[in-house]
Amino acid sequence: MNIDYSQEAPAVAGRLTLAEIEELVAKPLDTRPDKKYFIALSISGSALMIGAICLALSFYYGLGLWGNNQPIGWAFDIVNFVFWVGIGHAGTLISAILFLLRQKWRTGIARFAEAMTIFAVMCAGIFPAIHTGRPWLDGYLLPYPNQHSLWVNFTSPLLWDVFAVSTYFTVSLVFWYIGLIPDFATLRDRTSSKIKKTIYSLFSLGWRHSSRHWQHYEKSYMLLAGFATPLVLSVHTIVSFDFAVSILPGWHTTIFPPYFVAGAIFSGFAMVVTVLVFVRKIFDLENIITMDHLEKMNKVILATGMMVGYAYGMEFFIAWYSGVQAEQFVFVNRAFGPYAWAYWIMVSCNVIFPQLFWVKKFRRSIPVMMVVVILVNVGMWFERFVITVTSLHRDFLPSSWAYYTPTLYDFGILIGSFGLFFTLVILFTKSLPVVSISEVKAVAEGAQPSHHGGVVNA
């Protein structure tokens, strides 16, 4: 297939009119959910319940139910946290960084990715909250004048995490809501149901599509994108600091910040592709979330996958180059020790399989894409597992070496977090427009004056 480079690929395929775009996106909100919807919801709901039960038992009996031991004091709790925060990076990346880079293809997927960000950060937030063992006392993490006259430790990366993740959640939510306001107004004006209209009016705040408002609105979007971009980097950077400021070999390495960010984008994009493949099929959005968009996402997956691979290589090389014995031991132990299986799952899923995306045919094939992105999700979960557990399990003293085996409760809570995520995603698809109506309209063919800003060029 030959591409004509002199033409920009259209962001919306099939020459849809503005009304058709709106019709397509709003359809799921106007129709009653079918049987399949409830089946999907009950599956994810059951997973959520499993997690809730395991969590309740963990609260009741204490964290002794988990597999954590000495010296592996951090295990599934932190692994799942980093995994979900990572997933949560794709949304803001797509909505903010691609916005700043003027990538029009982001419009079709931005809303969904942002929603996934918010849900993923919610899932992530569970784990630091529960790993304290007594989550009802987590309020102590806030710096408020308390009866102990103590302040929180501002030099601790764990506290930076509290600030970073809560800021990230708030800003993502605000960003998402700002994007939804015009869509709420559109939905308000097209619905005939009185209840729906009241709800949409409430959330639209009385938006009138006024050009005098659009001007500030676009400016605010720009400013928010400008802040969200360093914010998204800072969040996973700070997560990496949780490990890297320590002196533990395998954790303390200076490449961690950019490496974690690249990994987060990698896993986030993989998760977005996983979900979008279904969404575009089920809701007939193939013209709005086109194969071109998926291909571009797969390219990003390939690129970030190689960045992650670069970091693996760099860590190994510098561990050898450093001449520090403990450092060298940890990396050899990673690749050939008791957890070698986890390490090689990580390497093959994150570095080897994504190489399939060098071939255009594979980038554009739904089955290949599905296999690869699911493997990437698995691989990225294992990456965090490898970093956390293998660095800890062979302590400096051989007398305190141990092997970590997760218990059923650990798995139950992990399943529960997936349940929460997919329950929220499924509810979202039927309650809010999964694609930004106004943004997609704005990039549809013929939606802009024939030469942009005609005044300038006239």
């Binding site: 007594r134 501002f154 600030f163 004006d189 705040l205 599509h209 050009s211 400013l223 942009h452 800003g453």
Partner: protein, 389 residues
Amino acid sequence: MHNKNLFGVSALFDSPDKIISVAKKTTDAGYKKFDINTPYPVHGMEKAMKLKPSKLGFITLVFGLTGSFIALLFMYWTMSVDYPMIISGKPFFALPAFIPVTFEVTVLLATLATVIGMITFFFKFPENHHPLHDTNYMKQVSKDKFGLVIESADKNFELEKVKEFLQSLNPIAIEEIYYQEKANNSLLEPRFLTLLFAIALVTSGTTYFVLNKLLYMTPFDWMSTQLKLNPQKPSDLFSDGYGMRSPVKGTVAQGFMPYLAKGNPNPNSNDLLENPYLITEENIKLGKSKYLTFCSPCHGNFGDGDSRLRGQFPNPPSLHSKRAQDFKDGMIYHVIVNGQNSMPSYAPYLNHEERWSVVNYIRVLQRAKNASESDIQFAKKENVKNASN
């Protein structure tokens, strides 16, 4: 009661090119209070409408800087002033470690201020009762049409003229938009007040329940019911039912030092210890602080026996008496350890070094009270030296 007033006249168009030229013509015709409504932002509209650049960025800048400043100041105050603590060998004001939180607070404050500022000051939202709502015009521009409204509040507004002007632009439709006046203050509406009251009730109820009830229920109270030994409390673990145990016979506690004169009010001078500490500035400082804490309430700040206890406890004799001056160091030590007359033992409060430092300090006090001429000359010299430094 309700008057129907004209809000303005609207016209609909069907292409982005058209609306841009319409906006230009409307501006050129001298209308100021008009608006263009489009389902999405149309590029170039700002220039066509001659809008001034958005000033939103100023809010962001001001609040962003405020955020950085507040965060840094707060961390400085908590970590270096209010409760300084050495953490992993870092300075109290560990700037590199404060940067992440400063950054996050900056972003949080800047973005929230931008959005809230935009919605409240720039848009004056929420405003669900604007005359344009629920009109056919609004429904069309919400979907796929591009609209122009010229408001009746405009200086040049004359209904017929405006209609004529709009007609000349070749619109798809023209609509007059009316609104009904409403005159009551929505803040005093009973529904709103009830809502406020309900929120207050729920918030206070929840807070009370959580803080005073929930935290004392199982499993939240497991901290206080754990299987452990509590001091001064009985325990089922031991057959005698006592929780606290005495040491096993023959064991010696860590740091224990035998003291032969223990318990003897008139000790043999051979049993008394020799002062092992030199009089150094450091030692005297320690002695001073311990003396002021433990001895001065009865013996007085300078050892004159001027108790601060106002007769609640018998006044001790002066430390400057001949008898006290003639005490050997070991004897003063003995009095501290053993007590004398109504003075109890201070052994539990002062360790070995501290007791001797108090002895040394008492010697300093005694010398100061009975200073010789040479002492005074020396002190004067020292004062001059210190003053000149």
